[in-house]
Structure formats: C-alpha cells, structure tokens
C-alpha cells in the first residue's frame, strides 16, 4: 500500500511539473502547444543517453532542458509570426515527428526496444527497495522549486507582460513590449520544464521507449491545467494529483470488476470526459481559476 501511494506521488509529481510547463504557455501566455509531450521525450532521452555515456546526471538533465528549450524556441520563431493556430498544428506534428524519430533512429535509441539499465541519481547510495521513496523526495523538491520559480515569475513584471500578450497583444506592443519575444521565451521555458519532468520520468520508470510519449500525454497535461484553472500554478498541481489519483484508484478497482483492460481504459476516459464537461458547466474557470478570468471580450 505504501509502495502504491509512493508511486502515485511520483507520477502525480512528475506530471504536475510537466503540466506546469504547459500552464506557463497556455495559462499565462495563451499559447496553444499541442505537442508538449515532445519536450518531455527530448528531456528523457537526452538525459538517459548522456547518462549512459558517462555524463554526470545533473548535466545530462540540464542538457535535455537546454535542448528542449531550444526546440521550443525554434518552433515559436518559425510559427508565431503566422496565425495563432499554426503553433498548435506545428507542435502536434513536432511531437509525432520526435516519436517517430525515436522509434526509427535505432542505432541511438534502440527504437521500440527502448532503453534500460541507465544510471539514476544517488543509485549507489540508496538501497534498492528504498529508491522510490528517495526519488519521490527528489520529485517533490523539484516540483516545489519549479512552482516557486513560476510563481515568482508570474507575479513579476515579466509575467505581467506575458499576461498582457495573452489578453491583447496589440496593447503590449503599443506600450513598447516585444510581444513576439515574450511568446518565444514562454515556449522555451515551458519546454525546458517539460524536459525536466521527462528526465524524472525516466529515472522513475527505469525503462523508456518511444511509446511512453504518445500524444495522449499532452492532453493529460491539458486536462490538468484546465481542471485546476488555466493560469493557476496551484490549480495545475491539484489537477495533476486529481487526475493521477483517479487513474490509480480506478486501476485498483479494476481488479474487482470484470472489464477487459481496453474497455476499462476507455471507460476511464469516458468518465474523465464527463467530469470535465460537468466542470465546464458548473465551474468553467476550473477549480482554482478566477471567475473574472473568463470575462474576456465583455
């Protein structure tokens, strides 16, 4: 049972970090990133591959973040001067390109066999059976640091410009702000945060393969952000905990109900869909969102 709670904590924590990156882009900047999982994959693979080649893990994680941040910035520069929805289309394409690249670049990634047996932090220092507890501690510390960073930035003049770009770009520009540059910055930072969550996911799973990074993961992050309330970092974390709590308890109950695995996973998605629709009807701003945030264009 304790193992079970710790595994929920780990996944919820890792996905909370992942979703916080998206909340920076969507909640604070209004950017439609539908390929968030690509940056998680980049972080995971970069960290694992560099770690296997003897790079100290802290640098391997940082390298993954820099690489993902650069990719996010590149996609932003390429699309953000065009219409807004181009970013959505290009990011969703990018996430599938990354997954196919990982599947087919077998000499580097071993394709669908995946990678395992790679170094993990503090591995020699902790007994194997205690490892997940220690990793959960690391995840929670990282989560708190990311949360604190984003809270400070969101309430800072930098975050104020982001919000103004989200609300009405023309206003920011009329007041001398380079709106384009801020959008690129938000994409880069959010992508780097996704990469960080990818590194942690790799440490937790001990085995990664390209199918860990299906487009559905991106939409889990969207559900967390929307459920918690776009633009609320706290809400996003609560959204992550609720969604993983739900996944885990239903998986737990599965043992008692004679559903086939595919039927029960479909049933889960239906239930989540119904909950989301209900939430949008009765509390459209999300659990932690502010009602005023919906008063756009009024």
């Amino acid at each position: 049972m304790l193992d079970y709670l710790i595994s929920i904590m780990l996944t919820a924590g890792i996905y909370a970090i992942f979703a916080l990156g998206l909340n920076l882009q969507w909640g604070y900047s209004g950017l439609l990133n539908f390929g968030h999982v690509a940056f998680m994959a980049i972080g995971a693979y970069a960290t694992v591959l560099l770690g296997m080649n003897g790079v100290p893990l802290i640098f391997a994680v940082l390298a993954g973040m820099v690489l993902a941040g650069a990719c996010g910035a590149f996609l932003g520069v390429a699309t953000l001067r065009l219409r807004e929805d181009y970013l959505a289309i290009v990011t969703i394409g990018f996430s599938e390109i990354i997954r196919f690249l990982l599947l087919n670049w077998s000499s580097l990634t071993r394709g669908s066999f995946g990678l395992y047996g790679y170094p993990r932090p503090l591995e020699g220092l902790v007994a194997h059976e205690d490892y997940n507890i220690v990793l959960a501690g690391i995840v929670i510390i990282v989560l708190l640091l990311v949360y604190a960073l984003l809270e400070v930035l969101a309430k800072s003049p930098w975050g104020r410009v982001l919000k103004s770009v989200r609300d009405d770009e023309a206003v920011s520009i009329s007041l001398g702000k380079n709106a384009f540059s801020y959008k690129v910055q938000a994409l880069a930072l959010g992508s780097a945060i996704a990469a960080l969550s990818g590194s942690l996911l790799a440490f937790y799973l001990q085995y990664i393969n390209p199918n860990n990074f299906q487009p559905i993961e991106t939409f889990y992050a969207w559900i967390m952000v929307i459920m918690g309330g776009s633009g609320s970092n706290r809400g996003t974390i609560v959204g992550a905990i609720l969604l993983w709590g739900f996944f885990s308890t239903t998986r737990f109950l599965e043992g008692y109900i004679s559903f086939s695995p595919s039927a029960s996973s479909a049933a889960r998605m239906v239930i989540i869909g119904v909950i989301l629709i209900g939430l949008m009807m009765f509390r459209p701003q999300g659990l932690f969102g502010r009602k005023e945030d919906l008063a756009v264009g009024k």
Binding site: L153, W158, R160, D167, I173, S174, G176, Q185
Partner: protein, 259 residues
Amino acid sequence: MENEILRIEGAIKRFGGLLAVDGCSLSVQEGTIVGLIGPNGAGKSTLFDLISGFVRPDAGSIIFSGKQIGGLPAYRIARLGLVRTFQIPRALMRMTVLENMMLGSQNQTGEMIFRPILSWGRVQAQERSIEKKAEEILKFFDLLRMKDEYAGSMSGGQKKMLEMARALMADPRLLLLDEPFSGVNPALSERLIERIKMLREKGLTIMIIEHAIPYVLALSDELYVLNKGAILANGRPDQVISDPKVFEAYLGVGFDAQH
C-alpha cells in the same frame, strides 16, 4: 520649424483597392495639441496606425524627432516615446486596473526573464516606484478606487480613461489619442479636457482624433481635416471649421449615409 516633433510626408496606405491614406503630409510642433477630424472612414485611425507602426505605409516618410520611423516595428516606435491609444478601448480584461497601469512603465528591469529572481531587490524597488506613479496617474483620472478591480469589469468610458492613463505611464513625448471622449459622459469629458490641457502645460505633445467639434475647438492649437485619405484643410481651428470645403465634406458624407 525648430520644434517640429513629427513630420509626415506623402504617406500612402492601400487596403486592396481602397486608398485609406492618400498622400498625407503634416507637421506637429512640440508641446502643442493637434486635432484631427474628418468624416467616418476618412482614414484618421489608419493614419494613427501608420504613425505608431501598427500598419506599414506603402509610401511616404514619417519622421519623429529627427528620426525616420516608417517601417520600424511598433514596439520600437513606442519605446522612442511615441505612444498611441486605440479607438475601441483595449483594456487587458483579465488583469487588474493597477496591472494594466504598471505594464505601461518603460525600461523595467524585471521584464527581462530571470531578472525578477537575480535582481530581486532592484526589481522590488522599481515595482514600488512604478506602483506609486500608477496610483498618482489613476488619481488624476479618478480611477484610483478601481485599482484592484479587473479591467474587464469597467464601463466603456472608464476603459477609455484607463487607456489614456496607461499610455501616460510610458512617459510619452508624443501621445496619439483616438476618440478619447467617445463613451465618456459629458461631465467627465469636461474634466478630461482640463486634464489634457494640463498635460500640454507639462510639455507633452498630443494628436487627437475627435468627432465632437466643441471638444476639438477647446483643445487644439492646430487642426487638420482629413477626407478620403487626404488632408482637406489645416490651420487655426476656428478658421478651419468655418471653411466651406470642410462643411461640405461632412455634409456630403451625412447625405450619403442617409441614402
């Protein structure tokens, strides 16, 4: 002409087949208020778009305090001290009135990513002084009591006032006001006129588009009349307004609109 702050020569802007601005030339002296009137669709707002860089001119030159600014990105033009407001007020709805105001301030250290953390003390000190300035300007516009409310909850007239107040946060040298009195009730408008005059006393140069002729007459040192994208008349407001050509331009449009 030694105090000329803005000079436009032969500005042209086409939208498809429509010549919205058709070879406009004008000159603005520093520290004056210049009125811009003309029938609906004359191209007044488009001219502001050209000056502020929101729309690129197809031809012509725009010189702001000796510098050619035609073709510069709009945010760079704003940084030079040429700030515009919008005809339809654009409040940042999901931000508070105070946040709207504080955004307007220029050269904020904390607007650079990570500086709010790396230069915490400096950014906090700047924030305090920006907030103080924002409160002073809000007071000037009678909006101080609304400072913590969402801009989305303001009335149309209040949004117009906020728009002007926010532009002033940028310490502009030249302020472009597009119909600042629309939606503002008459009593408030009278006060706004006094406030705009006070800004001129402080040395600010203002270009103002306005339909209400009495307000234009009360404020302008010089008046331009735009019709079908071209300057129809300019000069002292009282002389311009009694020009039969100007009368006809307005009447013509009024007539068309009825049929």
